[in-house]
Symmetry: D2
Subunit: 367 residues, 4 copies
C-alpha cells in the first residue's frame, strides 16, 4: 500500500514538492515493447505548463521530463519507468508570511495538523505542481494505449466556467484546440475570456467544470465491485487538487430522471456489436464499460490564492489577515484539463491490462 500511488497494474507513484529540487512519477507495470517517443510525453506536459497564456500563472517552468529508467533503445522494457521533472523556477523570496499564516482554502493548516511539519514553500507537496507528474505518467499511458488499443481516443475540455455553461448545440471537437480554455464551444470561449479577464483584474478567481471523454474503449473493462471503472475514475478525478465533485454520464442530474427516461435502450449494430439509443450511463454499466463513450465530469473549485484579503490564524493561533500574492491562475480549472485527460489515460490503460488477467477460459460473445 502506497498512499502516493494509484492504479492496479499500471501503478503510478508521484513524488516531490513544489519548490524541492525535482518531482516526478515512478511508474510500475507499463507493458514491455511499447515504442516511446519522449517528445510525445513532453507534448502533453507542455499543454499543462504554466505561462501558456494570460489566463494561467506566469511562473516559468520548462517542465522538461527526463526518462531515467525502464526504456531501452526506444521501447519500454517492462521495468519501472522513472519520469523526473526538475524544478527550475524556484524564485528566491521571503516565505515568512505563508510559513506562519495558514491560507484559507489551502492544505496549509491540515498538513500542519496531520504531520506537525510542512514544506510551506509554494504549498510543498499539496501544490498543484504535483499534477505535472501525473501528466507525464498520462503521456506514458497514452503511448501504451496507442500500442495496445489504438482505437481509444481521450479528450478533455471545459464545459463550464463559473456560472457560464457551454451550449451543447455548438459542441465542435475541432474548436477544443483553438482557444485557451480547451472548450468545444467557440462562443463560450469568447464570453469566458471577457469574464475571466474581469475577475483577474479584481484579484478574484472562479471555478470550472471539465469533461473528459474516452472514445473507442472496448466493452468489458472494469472490475466490480470496488475496482469498477467508474469507481476508479471517481477516485482518480477527486484526487486532483481542488476537485469537489465527479460525475459519470448523467451525473448528479440522474437524480431528476425517471427510470423510463434514463434507460439506454439496446439494439444490434451493423458491425455485430450492441448500440445504444442514448448514453445516460456514461459508457459504464455495473462498473464495466459498454463500448460507448466513457464520459466523466469534474468540478474544480476557484483558486484559493486570491488578492482579496481573508481572515485566518497563524501557527501560534493568533488572528491574522492574509492576501496571497504571487503568480496564480484565476481559474485553475483551465490547467486541470490535461490533468483530467492524464488520469483518464492511466485508468483506461490500467483496466486494459487488468482485464487480461481477469478473463477466463471462454469469452462472452453476443450473437
Amino acid at each position: 500500500m502506497s498512499l502516493n500511488s494509484f492504479g492496479h497494474l499500471f501503478r503510478v507513484t508521484t513524488w516531490g514538492e513544489s519548490h524541492g529540487p525535482a518531482l516526478g512519477a515512478t511508474v510500475d507495470g507499463c507493458p514491455p515493447g511499447v515504442p516511446i517517443d519522449p517528445a510525445m510525453i513532453q507534448h502533453w506536459l507542455d499543454r499543462r505548463k504554466p505561462g501558456q497564456n494570460k489566463f494561467t500563472t506566469q511562473r516559468r517552468e520548462p517542465d522538461e521530463v527526463k526518462i531515467l529508467s525502464g526504456v531501452f533503445e526506444g521501447q519500454t522494457t517492462g521495468t519501472p519507468v522513472q519520469l523526473m521533472i526538475e524544478n527550475t523556477d524556484q524564485r528566491s523570496k521571503d516565505y515568512g508570511d505563508i510559513a506562519e499564516k495558514f491560507r484559507p482554502g489551502h492544505a496549509d493548516i491540515t498538513y500542519w495538523q496531520k504531520y506537525g511539519i510542512r514544506d510551506y514553500r509554494g504549498g510543498g507537496r499539496s501544490s498543484a505542481r504535483e499534477t505535472a507528474a501525473r501528466v507525464a505518467a498520462g503521456g506514458l499511458a497514452r503511448e501504451a494505449i496507442k500500442a495496445l488499443a489504438p482505437d481509444v481516443q481521450i479528450t478533455g475540455y471545459m464545459v463550464q466556467m463559473g456560472p457560464h455553461r457551454i451550449d451543447r448545440d455548438r459542441f465542435d471537437w475541432d474548436q477544443i484546440e483553438q482557444n485557451p480554455f480547451w472548450t468545444p464551444d467557440a462562443q463560450a470561449a469568447e464570453q469566458w475570456a471577457d469574464y475571466l479577464g474581469e475577475l483577474r483584474k479584481s484579484g478574484n478567481s472562479v471555478g470550472a467544470v471539465i469533461e473528459v471523454v474516452a472514445r473507442g474503449v472496448p466493452a468489458g473493462l472494469g472490475a466490480p465491485i470496488y475496482g469498477k471503472l467508474d469507481t476508479d475514475l471517481a477516485a482518480a478525478m477527486m484526487s486532483i487538487n481542488a476537485v469537489k465533485g465527479v460525475e459519470i454520464g448523467e451525473g448528479m442530474a440522474a437524480a431528476e430522471l425517471t427510470g423510463e427516461a434514463n434507460a439506454d435502450e439496446i439494439f444490434m449494430g451493423n458491425d455485430g456489436k450492441p448500440v445504444y439509443s442514448s448514453n445516460h450511463a456514461g459508457g459504464i454499466l455495473g462498473g464495466i464499460s459498454t463500448g460507448q463513450d466513457v464520459v466523466v465530469r469534474f468540478a474544480v473549485k476557484p483558486t484559493s490564492s486570491i488578492l482579496k484579503p481573508r481572515q485566518t490564524i497563524t501557527k501560534s493561533g493568533e488572528a491574522a489577515e492574509i492576501i496571497t500574492k504571487g503568480r496564480h491562475d484565476p481559474c485553475v480549472g483551465i490547467r486541470a484539463v490535461p490533468v483530467g485527460e492524464a488520469m483518464m489515460a492511466c485508468v483506461i490503460l490500467d483496466h486494459l491490462l487488468l482485464h487480461r488477467g481477469q478473463i477466463g477460459v471462454n469469452r462472452g460473445q453476443i450473437g
Copy 2:
C-alpha cells in the same frame, strides 16, 4: 490486490450473489478489544432491509447477520471478522426471460461481455443486495469508531427525490428517523410520498440525492495524494450500485463560486481549536480532515427495473422488448441511505487507523 475489497487498514471484502446460498463481508484489520453487540450490527442491517414500507421492494429477507469469526467473548480479537447473511427468499421462479434478454440500465450485458458467464438470477453479483454486506461491515466499523473516537457521529439522509429538493431552512435532525425517506425536511417527506406513489403506480421509478455527514471527526485524517479522505469517499460512494455522481462540500456548485465566496475563513475557537466561517470545503482541505463536518453527497439513478416496456437485445443478438416484473423499489435511493452511512463509517475508521501508522515523532500543534 482484491477488486472486491475496499479500505487500507480496515479492509472489507464483500462476496456473494443475490440468489446464492449466502453473501457477506470478510473484514480484516478491525482493531482488537472492541466490544461487539451483534444486535447493534443487526440494527443497521434492519434499516436497509427490504419490505420496510410501501416504498421499498416487498422481497422479504430477514437479513440476519451471523458473526463467524474474529469475535471472542464479546470483543474483537484483531483477526478477520466474517459477517455472513444467508439468502432465504430465493423465490423459485422462471428466470428464462432475464437469462436471455439484457435489461437496459443493468449490468447484464456488461457482465456477459466481460466474463462470458453470469449468474442472471436477480442480477447475481451486480444486484444491490450486495450492499447488505456493506451495511454489516459498516455496523462493525461503527462499533470500532465508538470505542476509538466516540465523538464521531455519522448520519445519512435524502436531500432530493427526482426534481424535488429539500428546503435547507426546514432542516431538522430529529425528523430523519420520522419518515420513510430519512429526510430532515418533514414537508418534503409528505410531498415525496405523493410523488413516489404516483410513479410507482405508473410502473416508473426515479432517482435521488443522498447526503451523509460525519460530525466530530478529528482534524488530520486523510492520506494525500491518492488516499485523500475525499478521494476515498468518492470511490466508496461511486462503488455503490446506481450511483452516478459524488460531491464533497460545495460539490459541482463549487464551479460557480468565486474564490472570495468559496474561502472558508479561519478563526481560533474558545476551545483552542480552529473554527471556520463556513464549510464550502466539506470538512476536507488537501485531502485531510479539518475537524469540521465531513459532508458527502451522491446521486442515485432511477431504478432500472421498471414496468415500462423497453427495447433490448438477447444473448443471441436478436431485438426484443423487455418489462422487468418483480418486486422493485421505485426509488432505490431510499435504501441507499444506510449504505452511504456504512461506507462513510468504513472510510472514517480506516483513516483513524491509518493515521496512527502515519504520525511521526512530534505532532502538529496550533497555538
Copy 3:
C-alpha cells in the same frame, strides 16, 4: 492491504478460528469459466484432514467445504468464491489451563502481547486448522490451472523426518501416495514409521522437510523485483504454521558450491525450447520461471504441543509448568504436505494470471 490475504490477482483471504463456528477462504480473482467439481476441492481437503492414520491427530473433523458464492451452473463466474468449512468437533472441555498459561513454542504469548485478547481455544487463529482454508483455496487454484495451463502438475512429498533424509536414488513418484508420509522413498517410509512410533509413545515430537515440485510451468512467470516467483513462494511457505526455513532449488547448500558447479548450462532442445544441464536454480532465474521444474523445500519445526513438561509463565506473570494434553500430531510436517502443495498452486495460478497483465506488444522468442 489485508494482512490475512495473499496473492496479487488470485487473492486469497482466510478467516476463522480453530474453535469458532466456521473458517474459510474468500477467494477473489479466480478467472471465469473454470469448471468446478466440488468433489475435487473436497479431495484435496481430505488429504489434509486429521485422523487419517495413527500419525496424525485423532481430532475428527469432516472438513466439508461449502461453496457459497462465485460458482454458477458448475463454472466460476469471475466473482469472489467463498469456501466455508464448519467446525464440528468443538469438544466441550475445560480450557482453563491454556487460557492462563502460555504454551512454549506456540503463539499464545505473542498474540496476548500484541492484541491484549486471544481466543485461546485450540490456538484460535494461530491454530494449524487455518491451513484447511488454504487447502480449499489451493483446490480451487488447481481447477483453474487445469483449465488454463493443463501441463502443470504440482506434487509435494516429505524428504526428511528428524535427522533421517530420503535417499534420492530411491526416489519414486509412484510411492508418494503409498505411505502415510507422502514420501517417494518406500524404505524411508518404513524407517520413519518406527522412528515416529517411538517418539509418539514417549510424548515427544519431531520436525520434517517437505519438497514441493511444479512440473510443466511455462517459462516467463514471475514479477521482478519484489513479486519474483521465488519471493512469493518463500513468503507463501514461510507463512505456513511452524515453518522455519525455505529453499529454492539448491537452497542453503548453494552457499557451498562454486560458480562453475552451480551454473546450469543451456542447450537447445528438440522441441525448440531451451533445456538445461542441471537445475540448481530450482527452475527460477532472476525471479522468473525457466520452464524447468520449480522446486521448493521448507522445514517444519517439531510440534510444540508435547506431553513432556515444560516451564512457562501465566498471564499474571507467575512461573508454571505445562504439559499440553490433547490430540496432537507427533510430526505436523506430515499434514503440511498438502498445505505446501496448495500454496504452490495458488502462487502458480496467481503468476499465470499476472503474466497476462504484464506482457506487451511483442513476445520474446528464441530461435
Copy 4:
C-alpha cells in the same frame, strides 16, 4: 499493487537499471519529523559500494545518494522520499556478446522470454546494482527506527563461505567491522581470505551464508497470517539477487529437533518482561516478535559471472560458449551483508508503523 515495491506502510519502490542514467528508491510512508542526516544514509551505501577491497568488484561507482523530496529543513515531512543514485561508471564497451548470448545462472534468458526485450547492459534491471537503492532506503529506515524505537540495533555478518562456517564459540561482535567479510570470527576471516584469493585467481566464485540480527525489537510486531514478521522477512531476503534459501532462528535444522529440544521455555525476567531459556524460534512465534533477538539467515549462490567457459545458446537458438569477463565479485555474498541489513531495517520499521494501526482499545499486559 506495484511489483517493484515492498512493505506495507513503509513502502519502497526501487527503479533503474545497471547502466541507465540513474537508479533509486521512491519511499512512501516514512513518518514525519524524523531528523535526516544525509551523511548517515550515505554511510550505509558506502558499505555496499564496490571496490572497497580486493574481494569485491573493481567497478568504481561513487554511489552518491541525492534526496530529491520528502525532507524539509532536515526532517522528513511524511511525503514520499526520493533517493536517487546516478550511474557514473558506465564504461563504454562492446556489449555484443552478452547482447546475443544468455549467461548461465543469470536472468538474461528469462527476462527475454518474459518481456521480449531486455536491457542487456550489465544485466539491466536484474543487476545486483539494484540493491544500492535498497541500501539507501534501508538507511532512511534506520533513521526512522532511531527516532521511534531507539533500542533496536540491526547487524549483519557472514557466517559461512563455501563449505567453511564460522565457529560460534569465537563469535565476537567487535570483529564484524574489522575484516572485509563482516564476519564475527576473526580466524574464519583469515581462512576465507586465503580460500577466496585462490578461487578468484582461478576465475571461479563461491556462495555464502549471511545472518542478520535485530536486537531490541519490542514484542508484538508482525501481522498474522500473511503479513507475519517471518513471512515478510523471508520475502525480503529471497527478493535479493542470488538468494536461494532463507531461515528464521533454527531454520532448516529445526527439522532435526524434537519438540522437547525445540521448546524455548518461558520465565519472568527481573524487568517484568518474559525471558526465554533459548531462541530456537529466532524471536518470532506465530509470526509475531517475542522481544528476543530476531534472527534471519540467507544463502547466496556463487556469482554466476565467472571466467570458466560455460555452454549456452544465443537469442537465435544456436549453441555457444561463454566466458563472462569483466569486474566481478568472486563472492557476491560479501556485499549482500549490508543489503540484508537494509531489508531487515525496512521490515522492522514497516511493522513498527503497522503495529500502531493494528492495536486496539486495550493493550496486552503480562503480570
